[in-house]
């Protein structure tokens, strides 16, 4: 197989030689920020003024049992129950509460170094170790600590307490975002939120939770089973649809995911449903064909009557530095607008989101904290940082 290897090398080299100078193409991949659609408005309070209150599917709590009936035909929309209690975007305490179980990763380190009276090499070693353990990563950790070191040198920060407080503040600041963390909704089209990510991160479960949240807030939701590849993926999403009480559009297993999403958007539009949550198959960003497929799904979903206002990268909190690579590649490919950080109820800290915000400008919008339909909270940077330190 040496011949093949030779071939790989040459082919890649040749490819690079040729492609190399096509660098100066005007069309570079999108970076950061929201998708190009100009008239996107952020999530309004639960009772959207213009839309007729369509809540035929009333989520009746957690009761398993008889499946919710499918959406009745449009005409029959008589009794509009009062919208369920507003599911306001979660206030600051919520994230911190849900992560309460494990003691902050850095708390041990912080206590030790506060106990010493001065800032020394050990201080930096311990802080470094703590941050690395939280998956913050070498580059970000080095940058943060270097900056703090300078401030200690200059006399601006004196003593370990000041350093710790400054680090906390810095981390908090790194997680700041220009955009807001709400999920955008299209005023004049059927809104599509596309869920993307690598295998096993929790896209389908997240969609179930988001469907619960949005339904409870008064939106009419349709699920699109855009994962036509994985065994029983459609079934899995269908169970969620039943549980939450929303409609779902499925296609044939092994069929074209774009067609399913398109179909879902068409139907949603025809029925006046506001929001389509589109599932996609897990895919590694390294697989060219699959990324091309994803691009197509996005393009198709973005055609009228649909408008893709959010492309959410679902990211597992246990992921290490590869999370940054994932974010970068998916951002380049389909214009990710935000991150959903899942499984944060475990021992992993998800520190990679700091680098993702810092280097790519991508904010975390939602956090998954369990496997149930209500285990979803808004991302709150204070809560996130607090959970590390306390």
């Amino acid at each position: 197989m040496l011949v093949l290897v030779l071939w790989i090398v040459v082919a890649v080299v040749v490819a690079l030689l040729v492609v190399g100078l096509l660098v100066f193409l005007p069309r570079r991949a999108r970076r950061g920020a929201a998708p190009s659609a100009p008239e996107v408005q952020t999530e309004a309070p639960p009772a959207p003024p213009g839309a007729p209150p369509r809540r035929a599917e009333a989520p009746a709590g957690e009761a398993p049992g008889p499946l919710q009936a499918p959406l009745p035909p449009e005409a029959a929309e008589p009794d509009v129950v009062a919208p369920a209690p507003t599911e306001a975007p979660a206030g600051p305490p919520e994230l911190r509460e849900r992560l309460g179980k494990t003691r902050g990763l850095l708390s041990g380190y912080v206590r030790a170094l506060r106990a010493r009276s001065s800032v020394d090499e050990q201080t930096w070693d311990e802080l470094e170790e703590g941050l690395l353990r939280a998956d913050v990563g070498v580059a970000t950790t080095s940058a943060l600590l270097a900056e703090l070191r300078d401030r200690v040198h200059s006399g601006e920060l004196r003593g370990p307490d000041a350093v710790v407080d400054a680090l906390r503040a810095d981390l908090r600041q790194e997680l700041d975002t220009d955009g807001n963390r709400n999920l955008a909704v299209a005023p004049d089209a059927t809104t599509v939120w596309l869920f993307v990510g690598v295998n096993g991160v929790g896209k389908t479960t997240t969609i179930g939770k988001v469907a619960r949240r949005e339904s409870a807030a008064g939106r009419s939701v349709v699920l699109a089973a855009g994962d036509t590849f994985r065994a029983a993926a459609g079934e899995q999403l269908e169970r969620w649809a039943e549980r939450i009480g929303v409609n779902i559009v499925r296609g044939a297993e092994g069929g074209d995911p774009s067609a399913v999403v398109f179909d879902a958007v068409q139907r949603a539009s025809a029925r006046g449903n506001e929001l389509v949550l589109a599932d996609t198959a897990g895919r590694l960003h390294t697989k060219v064909n699959l990324i091309e497929e994803l691009k197509k799904i996005r393009r198709v979903a973005d055609r009228p009557p649909g408008q893709v206002t959010e492309v959410l990268l679902v990211l597992d909190a246990t992921t290490g530095q590869n999370g940054l690579t994932q974010a970068r590649q998916f951002l380049d490919a389909v214009g990710v607008t935000g991150v959903v950080l899942t499984k944060l109820d475990g021992t992993a800290k998800g520190g990679i989101v700091v680098a993702i915000q810092r280097e790519l400008g991508l904010p975390v919008k939602l956090v998954g904290v369990g496997e149930g339909p209500d285990d979803l909270v808004a991302f709150d940077p204070d809560g996130f940082v607090d959970a590390l330190f306390e």
Binding site: L21, V138, N199, A232, G320, N322, E371
Partner: protein, 514 residues
């Protein structure tokens, strides 16, 4: 990001060849780089520390070898140490005297247990066994359904009930006995290591089925959390081994080292893709290279073996060596290469790419590759064979057809022409292939035991010109060069079209190969 440990160490140690030994300062700096490399690969902080300290002793006072550069020497030492730690004894599956042999799979949510169960089942079948799978994940919607579908694909039956996980597992054992199945694979629900109730449940499952093998299934992209998870599962279940999944990603996979260190049991299997066949015994040497960011050449070769159409590859190689490489050939080869993943990703796996090209890599993306492809596709066969015929109007047609501009078409043609000339020039080829890059490949292959000679033989058998000097079993980089006709006898196009163990490219599911 693709600079790699090798380049960094080159920077530190590059000029040391004249000196006899590595000084303390050299060693310190070197170890810092190694530490960074390991941490960037997600190796646990404490594991990194102990590993680096262990390496220090080896490096201090080491005389610099003459054949390897200092950087290479250091990397080799680290690499060897990694292999030692990751390897140790391979897990050899032995079967219970009273069937069934029970295999229990446990791990976090999303780690790949269900898919792994089916892969294992298939693997056992290949070993001549009769497995049964038990779907004991009653938590995740449609998990059992998923296992059933995979079971059909693997040709292995699946048993489940809607009772509770412990009961299902227990009943599964009885069912295996009833059906005369000699291996039982129990898939369980994903669970957090800190979830006491669920960890207790999995312990009860284990008690109920008395597994002969308990495997922790862990995702190769796991970060620092790997140790906590592995420790918790090991304490609860006493693991026999670890299965590492999603190795087809570009995650460096440092979790492998961390988990091995903590659990002390072999990493038994490696899962390298979504297809059931993408499952193999674990190779410590490849993992070591990967963790160090040096790419995994052997996996690349294997992947190429799986994905490449051998005829196309051989023909392309021949025409390249003969200097008759056209846009058509380029297009064909580009398709092949694309099957291996993104170009950027490939670059990271390949040793020996000149630095300038590596840097260029960061300035383009796969979208641009697609554009190049589009341009070539918009050409007629005649145009691809002889771009000289492309005049203004053809240029415009091509530009329109590919959604680009005539300027871009021009650029492509010009670049390709230059590339053709480079490919014909002896210096470039020898320089690239004689030096470190393929040297490393050669070394890796040689370590596999004498295969290199077979390959040389194979190459000449299939009618290709002899491998140019510098390749093959000689050590030194030779610059005797490569004329357009190759160094050895050439028969023009390879007449022998027989596929030797080549593969008819199957596409698993519809259009996309995963």
């Amino acid at each position: 990001m693709f600079d790699g440990l090798s380049d960094r160490l080159d920077g530190i140690l590059g000029r040391l060849r004249s000196r006899g030994r590595l000084s303390d300062a050299d060693v310190d700096q070197t170890l810092r780089e190694i530490r960074t490399a390991l941490l960037e690969a997600d190796v646990d902080v404490a594991v990194t520390r102990s590993f680096v300290e262990g390496t220090r002793a080896r490096l201090v006072g080491d005389a610099l070898s003459r054949s390897l550069s200092p950087a290479q020497q250091v990397i080799k030492a680290v690499h060897d140490e990694l292999v030692r730690v990751l390897g140790g004894e391979t897990l050899r599956v032995s079967y219970a005297s009273a069937p069934p042999t029970v295999v229990l799979l446990a791990g976090l949510q999303g780690s790949g247990k269900t898919t792994t169960a089916a892969k294992l089942a298939r693997w056992f079948r290949q070993q001549g066994r009769n497995p049964l799978m038990v779907g004991a994940d009653l938590q995740r919607p449609a998990a059992v359904e998923q296992l059933r579908v995979l079971g059909r694909q693997a040709g292995v039956p699946v048993f489940s009930e809607t009772t509770d996980p412990v009961q299902v597992a227990e009943a599964g054992v009885a069912e295996a006995r009833r059906l005369g199945r000699d291996v039982l694979i129990v898939d369980t629900a994903g669970r957090l290591a800190i979830d006491e109730a669920l960890m207790d449940e999995v312990r009860r499952i284990s008690d109920a089925v008395a597994p002969h093998y308990t495997f922790l299934v862990i995702d190769a992209m796991t970060g620092q959390d790997a140790v906590a998870t592995a420790q918790a599962f090991h304490e609860t279940l006493e693991l026999d081994g670890v299965i590492l999944t999603k190795l087809d990603s570009d995650a460096r996979g440092g979790a492998a080292l961390s988990v091995k260190d903590v659990v002390g049991r072999p990493i038994a299997f490696a899962s390298t893709g979504e297809r059931l066949a993408d499952f193999d015994l674990f190779h410590p040497d490849r993992m070591a290279s990967r963790i160090l960011g040096m790419g995994d050449v052997l996996s690349l070769i294997e992947q190429a073996e799986r994905e490449f159409d051998r005829d196309v590859a051989q023909e392309g190689a021949a025409r390249l060596l003969e200097g008759r490489f056209t846009l058509e050939d380029f297009l064909a080869q580009l398709q092949q290469v694309k099957k291996l993943g993104s170009l950027g990703g490939l670059m990271s796996l390949m040793p020996g790419i000149p630095k300038a090209l590596k840097e260029a890599k960061d300035t383009f993306d796969d979208g641009q590759v697609a554009q190049v492809e589009a341009i070539i596709r918009s050409m007629t066969k005649a145009e691809r064979a002889d771009p000289a015929v492309i005049d203004g109007s053809r240029r415009q047609r091509i530009a329109r057809g590919s959604g680009t501009t005539t300027t871009e078409v021009n650029q492509l043609l010009r670049q390709f022409k230059e590339a053709q000339q480079v490919m014909r020039s002896p210096g470039m080829m020898a320089g690239m292939f004689g030096g470190g890059g393929l040297g490393q490949i050669r070394q890796a292959l040689a370590d596999r035991g004498g295969e290199l000679d077979d390959l040389s033989a194979l190459a000449s058998e299939s009618g290709l010109p002899d491998l140019p000097p510098g390749l093959g079993s000689q050590v030194a980089a030779s610059s005797s060069g490569l004329g357009p006709r190759g160094a050895g006898a050439t028969k023009g196009r390879p007449g022998n079209k027989k596929k030797k163990g080549g593969r008819v490219t199957p596409k698993a599911n519809g259009r996309h190969s995963r």
